[in-house]
Symmetry: C2
Subunit: 360 residues, 2 copies
């Protein structure tokens, strides 16, 4: 019997993924040229399905990288001449901030303790910051930044670019993609695919900035500079030979999700999240980690473990029902559980998981 993964990434595969990979092999997509019409059709299909699913404007570009780590690097390289600004409240938003310094930019941050989130009213953006980096869902701490707060941040800073790390949340957050300048994710989280593909959505505002930097002798990289990516995207090609299979499968998964409907997926996500949070609140030996309900992630539920040992719970649940819960991140490994609530797991599985935790 196969395990069910409630880990926050890599995570449970979306139910159709293995079949889509099989189809890709049947169609010999591992051997086709990335300069062929067949590939251009695949790229176009994936781009269209994502645009429908996430309500992305026609004018935006969709680019494929190897990971979200790569996108952190590329977006800083291509849009920040001098200064970036980061909302930091966990290991991943901190890493994005660190990348900026490593690239010899001046990185500002507004930092909050692990488990706390951001509202627009308290954010003061440094005057010369060119890019504001927000995180829709901190995978490490299970804290979300609500789309409304991200939107206000952009509206209050129209002269600056705003990007949203949606790694462990997309396509759940209902972001106004015509307002924000960029969003990105990797496929091994909410899209339920094997890792190895990052997806970067960018408005023309980003391209303009990158072109301007290039003109002023800025180093925007090589094959994955935004101008090069965009030029290739216009003909649905990629600069390098890309992960063709994953691009194909992502298009198919997005198509499956469009058939279900993004509203249904969002409602289901919220229903499952509510069941999990309610359980954690009522259970004797558990507690919700994120205190402010507005900041509680809908896609990664982080739970404090009291009295019992977190590793012991994980072990016993796996032995009982063959379900894998994620451990707490870093220093919280011994005292927290992280339960991914992505589209790949359904309510029935969530209920089975809860019953198993109760039996521990």
């Amino acid at each position: 019997m196969k395990k069910v993964f409630f880990t926050p990434g890599p995570a449970e595969l979306f139910p159709t993924v293995e079949q889509h990979y099989k189809d890709a092999f049947d169609q010999q997509l591992g051997s086709i040229s990335h300069r062929s019409q067949r590939f251009r059709d695949i790229y176009k299909h994936t781009s269209e399905q994502l645009k429908t699913l996430m309500n992305i404007p026609e004018s935006s570009g969709i680019f494929f990288t190897s990971s979200a780590n790569e996108i952190w690097e590329r977006i800083l390289q291509n849009t920040v001449e001098h200064e970036s600004f980061h909302l930091v409240n966990g290991s991943f938003s901190k890493k994005f901030y660190d990348f900026s310094s490593e690239l010899h930019k001046y990185a500002h941050k507004f930092e909050k303790p692990f488990g706390e989130g951001f509202d627009y009213s308290e954010i003061i953006v440094p005057e010369y910051a060119e890019l504001i980096c927000t995180t829709a869902n901190e995978t490490a701490s299970g804290v979300q930044m609500r789309p409304s707060e991200i939107h206000k941040t952009k509206r209050g800073n129209k002269d600056k670019l705003v990007c949203v790390d949606t790694v462990s949340s997309a396509p759940y957050p209902d972001l106004d993609m015509a307002l924000i300048d960029s969003a990105f994710f990797s496929v091994q989280k909410s899209f339920g695919m094997p890792a190895g593909l990052g997806v970067w959505i960018a408005a023309p505002s980003l391209l303009e900035k990158a072109e301007r930097m290039k003109t002023h002798e800025g180093n925007v990289g090589t094959y994955h500079s935004l101008p090069t990516l965009w030029k290739n995207f216009e003909k649905f090609e990629t600069p390098e030979t890309p992960n063709v299979m994953a691009i194909y499968v992502l298009g198919k998964v997005a198509e499956d999700m469009n058939k279900i409907g993004i509203d249904v997926i969002r409602k289901e996500t919220e229903k499952k999240a509510k069941v999990l949070y309610d359980f954690a609140e009522k259970c004797d030996f558990l507690d919700i980690f994120v205190k402010n309900p507005d900041h509680r992630s809908q896609t990664v539920i982080v739970i404090d473990v009291k009295e019992k040992n977190a590793a012991d719970i994980i072990k016993k649940v796996q032995a009982d029902v063959n379900m894998v819960i994620g451990s707490g991140y870093g220093d919280f490994k011994a005292t927290q559980l992280r339960i991914a609530n992505f589209a790949a797991v359904n309510m029935e599985q969530v209920e089975t998981l809860i019953e198993a935790i109760k039996r521990v």
Copy 2:
């Protein structure tokens, strides 16, 4: 019936690849953590199998990127403070050279016309070049640089780093990996896998250089800087969530190749190349493109088409025996054929292909 791909990349899949992917799904490798012992075991296995197959010293690091394009960028970023030197004789070696300028380095080149190759005796390396960039096989023109000439280049320039682009040749060229400083390839060529993984082999000499550059405030990148990759490699981890499935399958393919034996693979490659070149020489409407026999690639056979139309030959052969021949690169599309001679195709298939070309 499935096609057989004689295209030089993406190419025909190695016969065991699809089954290895199936096994990876059965083992749920798409859902495992890249910080788990299971992943570390996979990385270690792949590293060991490649080290055996290509006779790579124990002290070398093996790193995974998304493509060879990425490795061009990373190696320049991490080892060239000011000046690089490139042997350019085709589109891919030219691109490597271009990357250096794009990264604001001073790039020197020794350029030869398309179809010609390099011998050590004629190479004059600029005094201040830090990295010498050679290409074992120009995929565009079907020209090889023999290992003996690459070795002499390193022996004659011991104070400089020498790297070898083995994208469409590895594991065929019998390189002295204890002598040269770095080699790299992507898996969709000779290893017969779907694209999406680059493999970078680096000696400690590269790490020393990168560390020195970093100390002197050099920008060596972020998550894929050589120091970061190496630190992770020491525990068989990767900085980001990598393409776990492809890393697993590459280890399995390398294991399969080790079972066949690298000597057998090399001899088979040479036998098939000889049959193809002999045929091109004798055939009325074909000719060998690369005039100097020493410079003729063993893995990508480039053939001039006389009188007939190249596209027509490709079309008719596919209709006849369902085999796909590669077209000439760029300007040579109308007048050349490129036939990949990787380990995934056997002598019987080569003979079937030749008979079909004869029938055109």
